[in-house]
Structures are given as C-alpha cells and as structure tokens.
Symmetry: C2
Amino acid sequence: MSNHKNIKPTESELEILAILWEKGPATVRDIHEVLEQRKDAGYTTTLKLMQIMLEKGLVDRDTSNKTHVYRATVSQKDTQQQLLSKMIDTVFNGSASQLVLQALGNRHSSAAELDAIKAYLDEMEKKSK
Amino acid sequence: MSNHKNIKPTESELEILAILWEKGPATVRDIHEVLEQRKDAGYTTTLKLMQIMLEKGLVDRDTSNKTHVYRATVSQKDTQQQLLSKMIDTVFNGSASQLVLQALGNRHSSAAELDAIKAYLDEMEKKSK
DNA sequence: ATTTGACTACGAAAATATTCGTAAATACAT
DNA sequence: ATGTATTTACGAATATTTTCGTAGTCAAAT
C-alpha cells in the first residue's frame, strides 16, 4: 500500500535520484561530482535541478548546516514500479512476461541471479494453486 | 545485428509508435482516433507529431494517395531493447534480474506465461554450461 | 462550377525542461 | 577586518516538446 502519488521525474531528475538512492543523502556537490563524469553540466545547473526537485517533493533536505544535504523522498521501488508499469503498457503490449523475456535475452545475468528468478517463479506458482 | 542508431522517441511519439506496431500501417486519422480515447488532442496535433516523426526517421509514409499511410521504421523489439537497457542502467542499478523480479512481482502473469519464462531460463542455463 | 468535407503543410504559441550567469550569504583563513 | 572559497537563491536564456490555428489542396457531391 505504499504510494499513490504519480511519480514522474524527468530524465535529469531520474539521474539524480539514482545517485541519491545509491549513495544515500548527499550534497549538491556530491551529486554534481558524479554527474560531471558522464556529462558536462555546470554546478549551478545541478543545484537548480535539485531545487526544482525539492519543490516537486521528489527530495527533501536538511538545511541545518550551510551546505544542505538532500535525500530522496520517493523510494526506488515505487519509482521502479511506476516506470515499469508505464513501459509495459506502452511498449510491451501490456504483457509483463514479454518484458521479462526481452530483459533476460539481451543482458547477462549470473547463474545465481537466474536461480533466484526461478525460485521466485516457483513460489508464485505454488501460491496461485 | 539489427540496429545501431539511437532510438529516442519522446513520450508522445512512443504512444504513436505503439499504435503503429499494433495495427500496422495507418493513417493519421486511424492513429488519432485511438489517441482520442485517452487524451484530448486536436487532429492537427497528431498530424504534426507524425510529420516530425517522419523527419526524425521514426516512420515513413506512402504518399501515393491523398491520404498518407504511415508505417513505423523502428522495430518494436529494437525500441524495447533500447528503453529497457536505459531503464536497467538508471533505475535498476544495472541489474536485469532486479528488474525482472520487480516486473513479475506487481503484475499478474498467467501460469502459461510463467512457464514460458521458466522454460527460457532452463534453456539459458543449459547453454551456459 | 461551386460547395463541402477531409486532408496536408507549416508557422508559431504554449508548455516544459535544461542550462547558466550573477548576486548574496556564510565560513574559514589570513 | 579583509579576502577567498564555497554555497544557495533566483531570474532568465535556451532548448525541447506539445499544441493548435490557418491556409492551401484535393476529391466527391450537389
């Protein structure tokens, strides 16, 4: 029952969220240093983006120190779910399993990962009986 | 080795592509009638979008009759792959299997679909030996 | 031949997203 | 205290996407 709000981050916002999810709470500079490695954007661009994300409620921040610390307010899982759902609907004809096969097909997954998926499938079938 | 180009349709373009993939070649009116059911956009809006898609090479068209017939030039599969890849990278920490579990979790898939996935996994494991 | 209706072309407005420059605030070192 | 470096705030320029109005074309019906 987690979350009913529509999470719709833009492309750039998603990149920032991803970093926040991975590293946990971080400053603008932290984020910017990561982004800098793949794109070239100015520092204030990152800052502005994060301020906009604050307005939208995608993040909040601790302003008790001069250098603010930002934190994602939307969970990675909810966001994943949201985006997946949309993608399945629009690009995979509404079929989750079609997406699954496609995802497994063109990526390498370790044997352990595959086993985990199989175990999960077994679990589902058991429950559905 | 189908396709090296970067397919990056916008949100609206993707909706149109989805319809073209499903119905095959279609006129602007065909597309618009489908879109009309979920959003309210004017006819010329759809037309303009499709003209832009033509410029970008996402579609081509048969102009031998007055009413042009559009056809997707990018395949559904290539587009799926492209979008999936990006999504896995940015939202699923690079792990395809993480995406798979998430996709299976919150959607209903039929027993037959699940079996198909399992069969596929078995196939992969066999080959990797 | 004229009207009517459906179509395309196209420019441009409106909405949204991205980028950046500049100013003000703060902390720290000299 | 003054200078330096780092930060935030914020307006505004730019770029991109979406929307639509208007004009012109064509074919079929009157």
